[in-house]
Subunit: 359 residues, 2 copies
Amino acid sequence: MITLNVELGRRSYPIFIGSGLLGTPDLLTPYLDGRDCLVLSTETVAPVYLEPLRAMLGNSRVETMTLPDGETSKTVGSLESILDFMVEKKYSRDGVVITLGGGVIGDVGGFAAAIYQRGVDFIQVPTTLLAQVDSSVGGKTGVNHPGGKNLIGAFHQPRCVLSDTDTLRTLPDRELSAGLAEIVKYGLIADAGFFSWLEEQAPALLKRDPASLDYAVRRSCEIKARVVAEDETEQGIRAMLNFGHTFGHAIERCMGYGQWLHGEAVAAGMCMAAEFSQRMGWIGAEDIQRIRHLLTRLNLPDQPPALNPGDFMAAMSLDKKVIGGEIRLVLLTGLGSVRVTADYPSHELLDMLSAQFIL
Amino acid sequence: MITLNVELGRRSYPIFIGSGLLGTPDLLTPYLDGRDCLVLSTETVAPVYLEPLRAMLGNSRVETMTLPDGETSKTVGSLESILDFMVEKKYSRDGVVITLGGGVIGDVGGFAAAIYQRGVDFIQVPTTLLAQVDSSVGGKTGVNHPGGKNLIGAFHQPRCVLSDTDTLRTLPDRELSAGLAEIVKYGLIADAGFFSWLEEQAPALLKRDPASLDYAVRRSCEIKARVVAEDETEQGIRAMLNFGHTFGHAIERCMGYGQWLHGEAVAAGMCMAAEFSQRMGWIGAEDIQRIRHLLTRLNLPDQPPALNPGDFMAAMSLDKKVIGGEIRLVLLTGLGSVRVTADYPSHELLDMLSAQFIL
């Protein structure tokens, strides 16, 4: 087991990464201390992993609540049903919310923990690759709004994160690839060596080689934890983690959430951001080629779907990164380095969209 | 104009207190910088104070939204309508929410600001005495749940608070008295001298003497700001501000929110807490007499309404101060000092309730 610390002063917390963590006695005991627990999980995950998790909760009162899988549960409606349940079951401010599942349950459950009685403790037990390398680290919680993704939410750091990499064995292939998209992102924004390592390890990762997956999860969490520690509430540098996401969110929004997996939209979004970076003269054609090639090998899209450029621009302008009406983009200045900027010719953006979306 | 600083590190902010502040050019300019503003107000307050406020907002885009007056607007439904409006009007993370009105609009509007795009700036312009001395200070925001008051919310500090004491001239008598209840609380929990001053000044306060009201608001905010600076998220000492509130919330809950004003319920709740303090042997009968006498002179109830003791206990046990099933109470150890404790004989509590509620 590896323990990584996310350094956030009084809100610092450990991420435990390794094989066989679910069911390990005493690992969560210091965070519970007999307090009431609410385990939130999904219809697919609960039957497999709820029992080993319950066995770790000692003599705490434990209630469980299960939501349908997928992005459709990331709504104000789901949030309300969790809050209603917590009131009905009389959780005090001393209760602990434990989210067991992927990014959606972590985001909506973490947000419920953030606003129930102005904030109760929560613990993340991510069981998808995407959640282990991205959504479980850094305290972003929230739900979607019909008008945009993640428009309602809060920063609320977990007390600890337990990432049992054995759970990745049962993950569907498509979700494994979606998680790998975010892992590629960490290489692209911060570590060219890690990107090269991913190029080498692509076959092993797809074969779910435990050692390769462990390292990929660990290195991704290290990079994200370092960025989050510098800028917890995204006043500046944290925005770099949104590389590929402004385009990716617009893809998800135009297609309707849930058509493409988030990681798939991010993969195509990273290719769009890379292409725009090339238009700015910041990276070369061979860089884009390497990115597209790696993503394709990981069974990820390297092109957006056919969409209307005007609709796409409208969807981008609803993104949270839009400040004072300008669309800020995270662009590559090389493999392993990025710049966040709103200083680009906007007609270039429309040009690129028009060229890409052959409608 | 007096400027008080609430010291919270990076989240520190000023409270401006004085006559004629609404309409003062440039007072808010440093906090706006041309950014989009959303003014949230109520049906009663907007017609009187919206125009002078708008005149302070310079060249910012300003949208306004008005909610019905009173506790009935402090719901998840109102919150959603504000968030929907913000999405519809395309507010970015850079927008500023300004709440103009009493405690309800400040709480629900502040909570919307806390969770819209994971947090945008907000400015409080309280126009009731209660809001000026209590809810606008300290960053507690939230809405009620059918299962209890303030069960859903967040800590979200404003960027500044503008308390124009001229707005108290138009306040209904009953609301003036409700605000005075919280002011009496500050004397009781922290400053025996201030309590004596209130005994002297009761007639002047009821006559709305500007100098008396200014000082009462200022001293109340000073006490609250000091407590909040020590314990922003109520891990410990901040709980003392809930003196009278565990009983008061139970009164509101049993009667249905909005029957008694919050300050009225707190007045009766403080008398109940004082009486229980006497049962513990911590204060004398003459202390209770002084408290009851002052509250009565301020046209506030010194007794709870007729309620069922069992229902009342059940309502108390839903209070946020309940930790691990124990009802923690804020009790007086003298005029001007309190102790937060769950260490009391619980049969004594039921005894007192049974004696008070002659049903």
